[in-house]
Subunit: 203 residues, 2 copies
DNA sequence: ATTATAAGTTGCACTAAGTGCATAAATTAA
DNA sequence: TTAATTTATGCACTTAGTGCAACTTATAAT
């Protein structure tokens, strides 16, 4: 529940203490990422991460509550910008279209290399795969909350729940289709558009 | 991936060895369930489960590959019957309606007590919650495969993927709504029906 | 500046999950 | 009965994660 603090942008009033804490957290996440990519998730121990980040093993646990929490750190960082975008959209646009546009725009920022690297990492461990699925569920909740911020009519809440569910689902299926295509020639964004299109036509 | 063997019904040709293995697996699952309900998930060690089931700790791992795999055992047992039902439906019915009917029928078999017990168990541990989410993703895949068995036209596969995603999602949201209602007066099945209804109307 | 107070860091000991390996016991096949 | 193959178990080991107490560093108060 009390997940990762999503790496807030440097708030005007940030005490030196908070700054150092944020930097250390970042440093640990970066160290872990390097090691994960080099040796895989299972092949990287907390001792190694702590050493690479220049802290003690025990201190690690005052920054992340578990090993796989590090993964969420990165995802939180970039999904935060997605929700920020969404908050800026007008309530006149249909929610599903708004989400689609924001997601497409968001996914286009990543190169194929970045995406495959993350993807391979995720697939390197059963535990991470599991965690990724749980992450989607969590994002569905966050997306729903964000949608409620923009489209505030209480009578639409049920619909917004469906929109959130269906959008995260479309995203998941799109990424899956993108991953499974041989050669990865089509960009992920186009799979995402297709997924939203079939949502409308097939239901 | 290579998950639990879903507790196959006694196949005509079952060697004594296979029978004993199946029974032991069952016994472990039952022992674990008793202990989980009594002491919570985290409060139950593998040593305790092994003792309760009358096997050694080491032997446990030749029946389940991890502690939380035990949970999947039960879910697999009862979801198997759902898919069996689905396989018996006619390809003339729209897939989404077929899934809804089968799911509703399936959920009606459980009493409120059974459902709340399982639900409380799931919520007793972060790890189980995570596992449950991952389980939904797995079920989505199984449902999709089953749908493909019934509606065999290749050109419908994309639609069936959506149907699977949306159905599991509706189920999830329905159970969530059911859980969150105060007092649990309305049965879960009616939430499920509502969820499928809003799917069609809200999209 | 000095001291009190709180926050952050670390080591140590401990629990519990999970794996590899070698050996013993039990089944099935010959 | 004996040989071969599974299955069960004990043992040692690794790793994640937690509680606690000592120590160090930063912030606040006098």
């Amino acid at each position: 529940m009390s997940a990762n603090t999503p790496a807030v942008k440097p708030v005007p009033t940030e005490s030196p203490r908070e700054r150092k804490r944020r930097e250390t957290r970042q440093r640990i996440a970066e160290a872990a990422q390097r090691l994960f990519l080099a040796n895989g998730y299972e092949g990287t121990t907390l001792d190694a991460i702590a050493a690479e980040a220049g802290i003690s093993r025990r201190t690690f646990f005052s920054y992340f509550k578990s090993k796989d929490d590090i993964i969420l750190f990165w995802r939180d960082v970039d999904s935060a910008s997605l929700y920020a975008d969404l908050l800026r959209t007008s309530p006149d646009v249909p929610p599903l279209d708004a989400v689609r546009d924001v997601m497409v725009k968001h996914i286009e920022r990543y190169t194929t290399e970045q995406m495959t690297a993350v993807d391979n990492l995720m697939r390197s461990s059963e535990a991470l795969l599991t965690r990724k699925q749980a992450y989607y569920a969590q994002q569905e909740q966050v997306l729903f909350d964000t949608l409620c911020e923009v489209w505030r009519q209480p009578e639409r809440r049920a619909a917004l729940r469906m929109v959130a569910m269906v959008s995260i689902g479309a995203m998941r299926l799109a990424l899956q289709a993108w991953r499974e295509q041989s050669g990865q020639r089509k960009p992920a964004a186009s799979f995402l558009r297709d997924a939203f299109d079939s949502l409308k036509s097939e239901l």
